[in-house]
């Protein structure tokens, strides 16, 4: 014992050598691993709520009606042969494009008006104009249905005051299409307004002052300063709204239920009719997925444009 202790005292001091880290330890220390673990919950949510349903819908759309056999793209081919579906494509495009254009124009006009009134009054107006957007659309559409309804239509009553004959808002093809668009615009324009208002507020006043001194008129200020400075917000808002409007379901479902004679159906309401009410889930899935490739391509180009502009001008 004693000699052991002596040897230990006299031995040169050697720091204990740490064991080399295992592969698992190395991985755990990597920043990328930590980042991956931290984003895992989000990836889980996206996977469960977006990727999986989308993949499953694509899979469903390739099955036969009984969902017992793989039939490839036959559901899509049948749909393209179907007159009603071709009309749904046309109506969906007409509805989405017209509604988005109107929402963008009205939203921009409202934002511009709000931007030019004093901050104090602006808050009240902003709140009031946002009301349509915060009411659940199924409820507000019900209200509109009452206003359009032929027997008690308050709009027709108002028109009659000015000796205008009653309009068959929901009973005639074009009036029904217009009614659906009106309600969608009424509901969606405040979203555009609030986005554009934020964008307008972010344009530095000095750019307008510089344009004034450069000789710009009001219209030229709008064309050469406001619109280019808002291009990214306009693009992203239009893209977002286009996707949401193409997928709109509740307004058509509550207001016209696709009628008269299926002439106001859009993809979502028609997919519900085919897939759920008629019990052909694979074809319903094919209807709802029909616009996906086109919208994906549009989204790709719009987002690429936004990225490019952000790099160039930092806006």
């Amino acid at each position: 014992m004693a000699s052991d202790a002596t040897i230990a005292r006299n031995a040169p001091t050697v720091a204990p050598r740490a064991a080399p880290p295992t592969t698992l330890q190395k991985m755990a220390r990597r920043r990328s691993t930590v980042a991956f673990l931290l984003t895992l919950p989000l990836l889980g949510v996206i996977g469960g709520l977006v990727a999986w349903p989308a993949a499953y819908a694509i899979y469903l759309s390739t099955l036969n009606r009984r969902m017992t056999a793989f039939i490839g793209l036959e559901n899509y081919a049948i749909l393209l042969d179907n007159d009603t579906f071709r009309m749904v494509i046309w109506q969906s495009c007409f509805f989405a494009i017209t509604a988005v254009i109107l929402k963008a124009l009205i939203g921009f006009w409202l934002a511009h008006m709000l931007h030019h009134i004093p901050t104090k009054g602006q808050r009240i107006w902003r709140g009031m104009l946002l009301v349509p957007w915060v009411i659940p659309p199924a409820l507000s559409t019900l209200g509109w249905w009452w206003m359009f309804e032929p027997s008690y239509s308050s709009i027709n009553w108002l028109l009659s005051v000015f000796s205008v004959p009653p309009v068959p808002w929901l009973g005639e093809k074009w009036w029904a299409r217009i009614s659906v668009i009106i309600v969608n615009v009424w509901y969606g324009a405040p979203f555009f307004m609030i986005m554009y208002l934020a964008a307008l507020k972010s344009v530095p006043d000095q750019l307008y002052e510089a344009a004034d001194i450069d000789g710009a008129t009001g219209w030229q200020r709008l064309r050469y300063v406001t619109l280019p400075m808002m291009r990214n917000i306009i693009s992203i808002t239009v893209l977002f709204s286009l996707i949401v409007t193409f997928a709109n379901y509740d307004i058509v479902r509550v207001l016209t239920n696709g009628g008269p004679r299926d002439l106001t159906h859009v993809f979502a309401s028609y997919a519900f009719q085919v897939g759920v009410l008629s019990g052909n889930i694979p074809r319903g899935a094919a209807v709802s997925l029909f616009m996906f490739p086109l919208l994906a391509v549009i989204a790709y180009f719009v987002l690429r444009g936004i990225n490019q502009r952000t790099k160039e001008i930092g806006a």
Binding site: E209, D212, I213, D214, P228, M229, R231, E312, I313, A315
Partner: protein, 366 residues
């Protein structure tokens, strides 16, 4: 001809706050005038009223003999360089410079010629295809100037154009601006809070304070013959020292009694001017460069002893900070070879030939 006249110009904001209180100013054709003063003195408001970016509450502005009170900025034939340059971020440098000409429907060849000429003067030809984001602060400043030059306006307006640049670049750009303005020979109104910028650039400096003009004059005049305590203290760096004093008559001559019973003789050539102030309390104003290491040889030199608190060796000079009873920080400028240390008494010489006496009540230089 593009003289600018401001007559009884008033700017009052909501709530009755007057930013500009009835100023009069005549700016001659081709003159470079700098409006200088502390924040809130009304200099930028005045410039913006000349530009037409602020409404006028009262008075009159005329450019080239035409009253422009109700004429919008685009019709005043002015060009302005803003503090943060206000370049259009979505346009290239060329488009930024050409924008004013495009709106005025100039021919393409003429636009090309003018932009290229301005780019040559400002040495930014190689940047014409870039967007403002890809430029440094100094380059953006040049583009902003280019945008003004191509228009060949009656008046250039500069609103603190160097404030966003670092100290070194500011000095460089100051020289550039002076060179460019000398080349194009256009009437220029320039706003800054930096008195060094004002002194180095201006044909005439307009010192503003609290919405009024304190003094107008060439830089040297303002420096050597300030009209008010404000101008005396504002112009010059380090600032002029102000020491409370009493003018005391003494057998035909006049003395200044400073705190600490220091007695300085007022030079005979200035005695007549101050005779009526005998027995009055005044402020002695003297610049740091006239408060130096002990010297002899002139009748106007007077010695005093101080105790330095802070020594700042600047290389070509040493600044000595000290204080006297009833004063705040005072500063003397010494030859760098003179040994000085904090807490060690030091003899200084005041050159009273360059002193100023200020009426403490009115703030006027006597």
């Amino acid at each position: 001809m593009a003289q600018v006249s401001l007559r009884r110009l008033v700017k009052e904001y909501e709530g009755g706050v007057q930013a500009v209180k009835g100023i009069d100013l005549e700016i001659a054709d081709h003159e470079f005038v700098v409006l200088v003063g502390p924040s809130g003195c009304g200099k930028s408001t005045t410039l913006r009223m000349i530009a037409g970016l602020e409404d006028i509450t009262g008075g009159e502005i005329s450019i080239g003999g035409t009253v422009v009170n109700d004429i919008p900025p685009r019709d005043r034939d002015i060009a302005m360089v803003f503090q943060n340059y206000a370049l259009y971020p979505h346009m290239t440098v060329f488009d930024n410079m050409a924008f004013g000409l495009v709106l005025r429907k100039f021919r393409k060849e003429e636009i090309q010629r003018r932009v290229m000429e301005a780019a040559r003067i400002l040495d930014i030809t190689q940047l014409l295809d870039r967007k403002p984001r890809a430029l440094s602060g100094g380059q953006r400043q040049r583009v902003a100037m280019g945008r003004a030059i191509v228009r060949d306006p009656k008046v250039f307006l500069f609103d603190e154009p160097l404030s966003n640049l670092d100290a070194k670049l500011r000095v460089q750009m100051r020289t550039e601006i002076k060179k460019v303005v000398q080349t194009v020979r256009t009437t220029t109104v320039y706003v800054t809070h930096d008195q060094v910028e004002a002194m180095t650039l201006a044909d005439r400096v307009v010192v503003m304070n609290g919405g009024i003009i304190e003094q107008v004059g060439p830089p040297q005049e303002l420096y050597h013959r300030p009209a008010t305590r404000f101008v005396a203290g504002f112009i010059g760096s380090p600032a002029m020292n102000f020491i409370p004093a009493r003018v005391e008559p003494a057998s035909g001559a006049l003395n200044l009694r400073l705190p600490g019973d220091i007695l300085l003789p007022i030079p005979p050539e200035r005695s007549d001017r101050y005779r009526s102030q005998g027995g009055r309390e005044v402020l002695l104003g003297i610049r740091p460069e006239h408060l130096t290491e002990t010297r002899q040889g002139r009748a106007t030199y007077a010695d005093l002893e101080v105790v330095p608190e802070v020594i700042e060796p600047m290389g070509m000079e040493t600044l000595v900070h000290f204080h006297m009873e009833g004063t705040r920080d005072l500063c003397a400028r010494l030859d760098p070879t003179i040994p000085a240390a904090p807490g060690q008494p030091l003899r200084l010489t005041a050159d009273l030939a360059n002193m100023h006496l200020v009426d403490p009540q009115s703030g006027k230089v006597l």
